[in-house]
């Protein structure tokens, strides 16, 4: 399969410098951490996304993000792209991120759109988890 240049770049950068690209984990039981895990090994994709937030005014801001993804190159690139979009956003802003934003940024082909859908689901779940703890 021919990937777009953007997917290849994102994938390779993430692989080569995992720390710089926010690969890792937070303690999921910390109160300022929200965890989302979506997908299934049998389907070939699992994304785990964790956000670390702090209250700011009436809202909460995403200070830091960590992720790990099992999946094809597009899935890994989608997670990594999403992470970059999230840092510094309020939860309200983060909820506005749609799969299309990720798909467009990476120029995903139609057959790989589900990777961006999964990424969108992972942030929703992570926010839900965080909000449930507050």
């Amino acid at each position: 399969m021919a990937y777009s240049k953007k997917v290849v770049e994102k994938f390779e950068n993430t692989l080569n410098e995992p720390k710089k690209f926010n690969v890792g984990r937070f303690n999921p039981s910390d109160l300022d951490v929200g965890t989302g895990m979506v997908g299934a090994p049998a389907c070939g994709d699992v994304m785990k996304l964790q956000i670390k937030c702090e209250p700011k005014g009436n809202s909460h801001v995403i200070k830091d993000v960590k992720f790990k993804t099992y999946g094809c190159g597009s899935a890994i690139a989608s997670s990594s792209e999403l992470v970059e979009m999230l840092i510094g956003k309020t939860l309200e802003e983060a909820k506005e991120i749609k799969n299309k934003d990720i798909a467009n940024a990476l120029e995903l082909p139609p057959i790989k759109i589900h990777c961006s859908v999964l990424a969108e689901d992972s942030i929703k779940q992570a926010i839900d988890d965080y909000e449930a703890k507050q």
């Binding site: 290849v8 692989l15 690969v23 895990m37 997908g39 389907c43 070939g44 790990k68 899935a75 057959i111």
Partner: protein, 406 residues
């Protein structure tokens, strides 16, 4: 890195092989004005006669490799056409005798798709599961045979796993039941001995481009004793005893002939070379944790090795291995997102099927190619596992089978 490594390193010989330089030379001497370019069907001049001579010489090289009569070899455009001709040809000719066909779930699509087509035409097809080692057992065939079974089609060597089926035993059984037996041998020529004078095989498909010959040419062995009749699928001139019409591509045919002649001559050397590479590869991957070789090591050829790297997804691994040309599953299905149907048929869990890579070696693979691949591979697996939530869970002692995925 040593200078003689060509990047990306080609470890996809099961997909296609480069043409041997000696074969390429033979082909190019059958194309131009000063070469043997004539139409082998031209009876009225020397150009035609010379071309016919070249085609017949090539036919005997193919026949020699598998020990049959040259008159039993029918040229086709490749193994896919040979499979189609054998399966549809027998089914259409003998449909008054019965409408049941037996094949397996690990066949190439070139066998499965014609079977599906016959199902639409009113035939019934039984698709057998392989055993856990990736082979089709005689017992499963015996259990599937019916009164109206007219054809059994089982591959010799599986293209994804490298596993061999016991075509000797299956053939004897089929013959005793008077059922025709077709074998797709696209992958096995030049890798294992084939003696059609002893085997009870009625039809066998061959491909040139898996054995250092050119693409676009293959052949079907059609047994004369006992005689098997097939209905032609392509009409237009009655070439090849009416079984396959169309002007014979002399240059491709002599390419296949030369490739098969070399295969016979060099089979021992090729086998030793590849067996040594295979062992070197196995020793090298031994240090990587949580890997599973798919297909029984004792019943497979060393040319192909299929490995599942648990907790790493195959497509991402291929991307990380950009300096190595390998495939995940069969190239024919890699356009889809489904994991390999062959690995699924083996009973491998889907996630292991998703994590599999096929490495295949050949005549031009060097020790340096293998060593360099091994160093890239272990590095890539390590980095992708660092990225994998499944690997993290595994290290934390989580049983992934007990997790409820959403």
């Amino acid at each position: 890195m040593s200078k003689n490594i060509q990047l990306p390193i080609y470890l996809d010989y099961a997909s296609t092989t480069p043409v041997d330089p000696r074969v390429a030379e033979k082909i190019s001497s059958h194309l131009k004005m000063d070469g043997v370019f004539g139409n082998p069907a031209s009876r009225s001049h020397k150009y035609g006669w010379k071309a016919e001579e070249a085609v017949e010489e090539a036919r005997s090289h193919v026949a020699n490799l598998v020990n049959c009569d040259p008159r039993e070899i029918v040229w086709t455009s490749g193994a896919t056409e040979a499979d189609n001709l054998a399966i549809k040809g027998v089914a259409n000719f003998y449909n008054s005798k019965g409408k049941h066909i037996i094949t397996s779930k690990i066949e190439h699509k070139a066998v499965l798709d014609p079977c599906r087509q016959l199902e639409r035409d009113g035939f019934e097809v039984t698709y057998l599961d392989p055993d856990a080692g990736g082979c089709i057992t005689l017992d499963s065939i015996k259990a599937a045979v019916r009164e109206d079974t007219i054809l059994i089609s089982i591959m010799h060597l599986n293209n994804e796993l490298g596993t061999l089926n016991d075509i000797e035993a299956i053939g004897s059984f089929a013959r005793s039941k008077k059922i025709f037996f077709h074998v797709d041998a696209a992958q096995s020529t030049g890798k294992v001995d084939i003696d059609l004078s002893k085997l009870c095989v009625d039809l066998m498909s061959f491909s040139a481009h898996k054995t250092y010959g050119p693409k676009g040419i293959g052949a079907l062995y059609v047994s004369r004793k006992p005689r098997v009749r097939i209905e032609a699928q392509i009409h237009g001139g009655g070439h090849e005893r009416g079984m396959r019409s169309g002007t014979l591509p002399t240059h491709q045919i002599v390419g296949m002939g030369e490739a098969f002649r070399l295969a016979k001559e060099e089979m021992q050397a090729d086998r030793q070379h590849v067996a040594q590479l295979h062992q070197r590869f196995l020793n090298g991957v031994d240090g990587i944790e949580e890997i599973y070789v798919n297909g029984d090591l004792d019943r497979k050829v060393p040319n192909i090795i299929n490995i599942s790297f648990a907790y790493v997804e195959g497509e991402s691994l291929i991307m990380a291995l950009k300096d190595v040309a390998v495939s995940s599953g069969s190239a024919c299905t890699s356009a889809s997102l489904e994991p390999s149907y062959v690995l699924r048929a083996l009973g491998r869990k889907d996630e292991l099927a998703h994590s599999s890579i096929r490495f295949s070696f050949g005549r031009f693979t060097s020790n340096e190619d293998v060593d360099h691949t091994l160093s890239i591979l272990s590095h890539a697996v390590e980095r992708l596992r660092e990225l994998s939530p499944l690997w993290e869970m595994h290290l934390d002692g989580v049983d992934l089978d007990k997790v409820e995925w959403n």
